[in-house]
């Protein structure tokens, strides 16, 4: 019995425990109230169904959450990811535009399914733009010693303006089919975006767990002064995490613009910074920094989108969706609060004492 409670406690203290419980709760609700929620069919040789939608929709958020996790683990925050998504999307759309470099622009040219720029170059330019944005944030925070929230607020505000400058103030529609592959394509029946997430996740995981970067990130987040005394370069760690976060946001921008076939400086990646922070918090990483789990944040992103799709299938109108999300946030915060945790601790402890007493 004693071992049992110890095991229970260990499971409960695992970072993945609460996120998985929350996800399971939502899925159980779906299983009971939404017949056919889990039904997966095959259409045109690939899978379709609610669960596939959840995966495909949550892919960009998962990517941003991965980057955001590292930033938050150092005790910072990146508010500019939504704007970076817009910049990355705009970059792609402009480079794809077949009218690029043409003096004579006609509607026929604009809507042609073709481009003058190689696809590889478009993707690289997308990623470079986002990474550069991240680098800028990193410099402000690590070298400029500006508070992360303020430093990234600059790009959050300016970023959407930059995106509009890139697209010349237009909402640009993309007609180039190969580009749609990232957001709408399927490989072996599963959305391409999921493979991208898996790749980035693997890359990030290797980066933080198979090098010392993860340990240094956590150290900086827990006690920056001790890190400094131990010879860890806090500046370089911070520069790295913001740059990486920008890189992740850029990939998210690529997928999103590919998914919606357009680049819109005002609406691409809108509110993604808040959703990403929420995903990280649901994943159990503290806003004050320190220990983090990439996988938990990814599950956090999954929870947000499972919840959203569930609300849709329940027929909740889009304008009431945010209220629903507010409830989700509230429940999560209450679950993680010291009060609840203490209550649960006492509950298991008391059970143990009572058991010992009966022995």
């Amino acid at each position: 019995m004693k071992n049992n409670t110890a095991l229970l406690k260990r499971i409960r203290e695992n970072r993945l425990f609460w996120p998985l419980i929350a996800l399971a709760l939502i899925l159980v609700t779906d299983a009971i109230f939404v017949p056919g929620f889990f039904k997966i069919g095959i259409l045109d040789g690939h899978l379709y169904g609610n669960m596939i939608d959840v995966l495909n929709n949550s892919a960009p958020l998962m990517l941003v959450a991965i980057g955001m996790t590292l930033v938050i683990a150092t005790g910072g925050v990146d508010l500019s990811v939504g704007a970076v998504i817009a910049i990355s999307a705009a970059m792609g759309a402009v480079l794809i535009n077949p009218a690029l470099g043409n003096k004579l622009i006609s509607n026929e040219i604009l809507t042609k399914d073709a481009t003058n720029t190689p696809l590889v170059l478009i993707v690289l330019a997308d990623l470079a733009a986002g990474t550069l944005c991240g680098l800028w944030n990193g410099f402000l925070v690590s070298r400029g010693k500006i508070q992360p929230m303020v430093a990234t607020l600059i790009l959050m505000v300016a970023g959407r303006g930059i995106a509009q400058l890139i697209t010349n103030g237009q909402i640009m529609t993309i007609y180039y089919t190969p580009y749609f592959f990232f957001g709408n394509g399927f490989i072996f029946g599963l959305p391409v975006s999921i493979y991208i997430v898996a790749l980035v996740f693997l890359f990030a995981w290797i980066l933080v767990r198979k090098t010392s970067i993860g340990l240094f990130i956590e150290t900086v987040g827990i006690n920056a002064k001790s890190a400094y005394y131990s010879g860890i370069s806090e500046k370089n760690i911070k520069l790295f995490v913001y740059t990486f976060c920008g890189f992740c946001a850029a990939i998210a921008g690529l997928i999103l613009s590919s998914y919606v076939h357009s680049a819109d400086g005002n609406n691409n990646g809108l509110n993604y910074e808040m959703d990403a922070i929420l995903a990280v918090v649901i994943g159990g990483t503290l806003m004050s920094g320190g220990r983090f789990s990439l996988l938990s944040s990814v599950v956090g992103a999954l929870i947000i989108w499972t919840f959203t799709i569930t609300m849709y299938t329940f027929g909740v109108p889009a304008n009431a969706l945010l209220a629903g999300r507010a409830v989700l946030v509230l429940v999560v915060i209450l679950l993680y609060s010291d009060y609840t945790q203490n209550f649960l601790n006492k509950f298991t402890d008391r059970k143990k004492v009572r058991h010992d007493a009966t022995n």
Binding site: A6, K210, T211, S212, I213, L215, F216, E218, T219, I222, N223, K225, S226, A227, Y228, Y229, S230, G231, I232, S233, G290, R291, V353
Partner: protein
């Protein structure tokens, strides 16, 4: 037998278990009215746990607490205060930027027309301090006063807001000088005269004998016994605390002088005119291999500043630092680490431990920092290193995966030491490595230092306990007013050093 009516607090058969550790096992404790009761023991003996249980921070697994003859369950620190148990901690937890009076009355301010009645507030605060014979301007910010005064203000606050019957003083004297400590003691005597029971926790045995009526000794979570101070010889007390004899200490002093000092002209580290304005005036320092150099000086004399300059925490603005004939060009902790200099910093909590990381991660941190981002020590290698130093330094823990914040102060200090030893430094600077840790661990750290010197390393040992510096150092540098005042050979007498520190020589 004591008259039971005289007892204000009786703790019976308290046990508390943390994962993997029996923090307290069947401990009894009692406190009389108007008694100063010293609670002593090594780190990890269970003193803190007992205090936490008395103040409602932790709940006991078994046992009872009886206050004024009534069985009580202390539910929370607030509840403890309400029932008359007040605690003043080592680190004063008051706000230094608001006035003394506000600190004392915080949360209990007298009101007038919906606002704060400042006149009455200051008057109340004055009264509270007068009761303790402390005469200061209560309208000044608390930060303007010394730590000793701040501590007294903390005591005044605990007496004022809670009308305490029991006052727990947790290491109140660890950052006080002798005069300040004496002042605190006369205050304790006064409170004792008023019938308040005082539990006094300290590592300074002198003070135990100076002030306490009875002593309770804990060891490894078990009660060793409660003794009348006057009838317990000091050697016996130490033996009870350690559970073994302390001849080690005597042997150590002998070892230092019996060893042949290898005189060599070559310095492993040499500072010439190294200084930083506003921090420390230019000084010269030479370190030989196989040598322990002690730094003595009062608090604020520039000891830590000297360590920080050598290690590159602060960048010097004059002078040069040469290490093994190579001049140091860039001053930063990482550069020093690569050059084979290590600094075990003074403030263990703020500059040393990374509480939420495990012992293993804390130990390999500096070594990994030297290796950089991509030469990552394998998990297996990490465990090997951690196991090695846990064994060498005798860190008591159930596992290397224990979080460092769960360790006792002495063990945390050992983990930090291990972090630096793991980098295999040529020069090891130890800034107050024995602060706030028990006699046994102190002796171990001193011995370790001498062993390192034996292996050919140079140690710089900074301590405010002069006796320690004298016992372990081959040479002693005395600092005064942020300036190097003098340098003495290791067999200098303490009188000369004290005179130098005071500025009479």
């Amino acid at each position: 037998m004591t008259d039971t009516n005289d007892l204000i607090l009786t703790v019976k058969d308290i046990s508390k278990t943390f994962p993997g550790v029996n923090a307290l096992e069947h401990v009894d404790f009692s406190l009389k009215r108007g008694e100063i009761h010293a609670l002593v023991g090594e780190n990890g003996a269970g003193k803190s746990t007992l205090i936490k249980i008395l103040t409602g921070v932790e709940y006991p697994d078994t046992g009872s607490i009886e206050l004024d003859g009534k069985i009580m369950e202390v539910k929370s620190p607030q509840h403890a205060q309400e029932i008359g148990i007040s605690t003043v901690y080592q680190e004063v937890n008051l706000c230094t930027n608001i006035s003394v009076a506000e600190n004392i009355m915080l949360g209990h301010e007298p009101r007038r027309f919906g606002g704060i009645d400042w006149k009455r507030l200051n008057a109340f605060a004055n009264l509270a301090l007068q009761r303790l014979s402390v005469d200061i301007d209560v309208t000044q910010p608390l930060g303007n006063y010394s730590v000793a005064i701040q501590q007294m203000v903390a005591i005044a606050r605990s007496l004022e807001i809670a009308s305490a019957k029991i006052l727990i003083l947790d290491e109140p004297t660890s950052s006080l000088d002798v005069a300040e400590a004496n002042r605190l003691f006369s205050l304790m005597q006064k409170l004792k005269g008023e019938g308040i029971g005082i539990i006094f926790i300290t590592h300074f045995l002198d003070q135990v004998y100076q002030i306490s009526d009875r002593i309770t000794v804990l060891r490894n979570g078990k009660l060793v016994g409660t003794f009348i101070t006057a009838s317990l010889p000091r050697m016996e007390l130490i033996a009870k605390m350690l559970g073994r004899s302390i001849t080690d200490l005597d042997e150590m002093s002998k070892a230092k002088f019996s060893r042949e000092q290898k005189e060599s002209k070559k310095y492993s580290l040499e500072a010439r005119g190294l200084g930083r304005s506003g921090s420390l005036e230019p000084f010269d320092l030479q370190l030989h291999a196989s040598e322990v150099v002690g730094i003595a000086g009062l608090l604020g004399s520039g000891r830590t500043e000297m360590a920080n300059l050598i290690f590159g925490i602060d960048t010097p603005d004059t002078g040069t630092l040469t290490l093994n004939d190579r001049q140091v060009e860039h001053f930063s902790p990482l550069e020093s680490l690569k050059n084979g200099i290590a600094l075990c910093p003074e403030d263990r909590k703020a500059e040393g431990i990374v509480g939420d990381l495990t012992i293993r991660e804390n130990i390999i941190l500096a070594l990994q920092a030297r290796y950089g981002w991509f030469k990552f020590l394998s998990t297996q290698k990490q465990y090997e290193i951690a196991a090695k130093y846990i064994q060498i330094l005798g860190i008591s823990t159930p596992s290397p995966d224990q979080l460092v914040k769960n360790l006792s102060g002495g063990n945390q200090q050992k983990v930090i030491l291990a972090r630096w030893l793991a980098t295999n430094p040529q020069v090891l600077i130890l800034d107050e490595p024995t602060k706030g840790i028990d006699v046994g661990a102190k002796a171990e750290i001193q011995k370790l230092m001498l062993d390192l010197a034996e292996e050919g390393k140079s140690c710089v040992f900074i301590s405010s306990e002069l006796e320690e510096v004298l016992r372990t150092s081959h040479r002693i540098i005395v600092l005064r007013d942020r300036k190097k005042a003098a340098e003495y050979p290791g067999d200098v007498d303490d009188h000369t050093i004290i005179q130098t520190m005071a500025g009479n020589l």
